[in-house]
């Protein structure tokens, strides 16, 4: 666990320093852990675990949009699990359950493989259509069609800078919509 936490902290430091590849690797590394924790939380609340991917994506979005609140001198895992716990409680509450989520639910989780039965998450996608047109088009192109920023800019006749701005705003609006739900 200690090695894992140190690795995460190191990756996050690199990410904050501008290493986008380290950031991607970090998000990939934490996702299986978050997935197991989300499943466990749902199972304990008597909810179908196939919704876990929605919660995982919600957590990832929050991690991304709130990463400036992480103190680079502090370990990454407690920060991550605090966000995860918050989002899990939120998700369970939205499903009409009041559940106490213990921090141990996260700290002792070992990464599991993505299970076959996982239904592709639909919450994020379903909110795409409600976004302002520019944000929606940019997110559709980058997140759904897997286009690069460059190609997206060409396709939508926008500057790359404008695509980047729309991308960030789109992610922030998505998170806001998920929260309001």
């Amino acid at each position: 666990m200690r090695d894992r936490d140190d690795e995460w902290t190191g990756l996050m430091r690199s990410a904050i320093a501008g290493d986008a590849a380290a950031y991607g690797r970090l998000l990939e590394a934490v996702t299986p852990v978050l997935r197991v924790a989300a499943r466990r939380g749902l199972a304990r609340a008597g909810q179908p675990v196939d919704q876990s991917e929605d919660i995982v994506q919600d957590i990832l979005l929050a991690v991304h949009l709130k990463r400036h609140t992480w103190d680079a001198e502090a370990p990454f895992a407690p920060w991550l699990f605090a966000i995860a716990r918050n989002k899990l409680i939120d998700a369970l509450r939205r499903r009409g359950r009041r559940v106490f989520v213990n921090i141990d639910d996260f700290s002792d989780v070992i990464a599991g493989p993505p299970a076959e039965e996982t239904v592709p998450a639909s919450e994020v996608t379903s909110h795409l259509s409600g976004l302002p047109p520019r944000q929606r088009d940019v997110l559709q192109s980058i997140a759904v069609d897997s286009e690069s920023i460059k190609d997206t800019a060409k396709k939508l006749a926008m500057s790359e800078g404008a695509v980047r701005v729309a991308l960030h705003r789109g992610l922030a609006s998505l998170a806001a919509r998920l929260r309001k739900e």
Binding site: A15, G18, A20, A21, Y23, G24, L27, E28, T31, E53, V56, Q57, L60, L61, A62, H64, L65, K66, R67, H68, T69, W70, D71, A74, P78, W79, F81, A82, I83, N86, D90, P120, A121, V124, T125, L128, L139, I142, A143, V144, S146, I149, R164, L167, H168, L171, A175, R179
Partner: protein, 212 residues
């Protein structure tokens, strides 16, 4: 959307730098302060004898207490903006202004007085105090909440309450320069009442606005 794609998308947005919450809070308070000062100057203004009042240590103590409240509440606010933070180990900071006013009360008790303590406590401006401090605090509270939305507090209502505390501290600093009641007994009675109103508004607003 598959999680893999979401991760790839987030990594593409990694270059976007968010300003630290502290910097945004500083800007927000600097923008809201002139609004509160304008309200203060147009409605109340400083007391006419402010120059002589400055030689009265109990007049000066009011500013020490209200500024101490504002500063400690700002520090605690910024701490609580982090998702893993709690009041533990930090809450005692908020006792600093309480201790300061308690010292003031003690000091005043030891001085010879013509006016009985109850007269000093009730003062002449109680109503102005409890209505003006919340009024001057509201623009600052709005600014503080707007800034703290960038944070990720585990307990949004608590974070909002502390935002109320910091704006009440600043609002009370303005009001203190108008008020002619300098007795620490007055300050310890009416200022907290006014502050509690702002804290309540902050908590209710924070519950909604500071969720992330």
């Amino acid at each position: 959307m598959e999680t893999e794609r979401l991760i790839r998308t987030l990594a593409l947005d990694a270059g976007h730098r968010q300003r630290p919450v502290g910097a945004v809070l500083a800007v927000a308070l600097l923008l809201a302060m002139p609004v509160s000062v304008a309200l203060f100057m147009s409605i109340l203004g400083m007391r006419p004898d402010v120059r002589t009042a400055m030689h009265n240590p109990f007049f000066d103590l009011k500013f020490v207490v209200t500024m101490a409240l504002a500063i400690t509440a700002i520090v605690v606010s910024l701490h609580l903006a982090r998702p893993e933070a709690s009041l533990r180990g930090w809450g005692w900071l908020l006792l600093i202004p309480v201790a300061l006013i308690a010292l003031g009360i003690g000091a005043e008790m030891m001085m010879p007085h013509q006016r009985p303590w109850l007269t000093r406590l009730i003062g002449n401006n109680a109503r102005a105090c409890v209505s003006a401090i919340p009024l001057f605090s509201l623009p600052l509270l709005a600014g503080a909440l707007w800034a703290l939305r960038r944070g990720a507090p585990a307990r949004p209502a608590l974070a909002g309450a502390i935002a109320g505390l910091l704006s009440a501290g600043l609002g009370a600093t303005l009001y203190a320069s108008h008020c002619t009641d300098d007795s620490p007994l007055f300050v310890a009675t009416w200022y907290p009442l006014a502050t509690a109103m702002v804290v309540a508004v902050g908590a209710i607003a924070g519950r909604k606005l500071l969720r992330y």
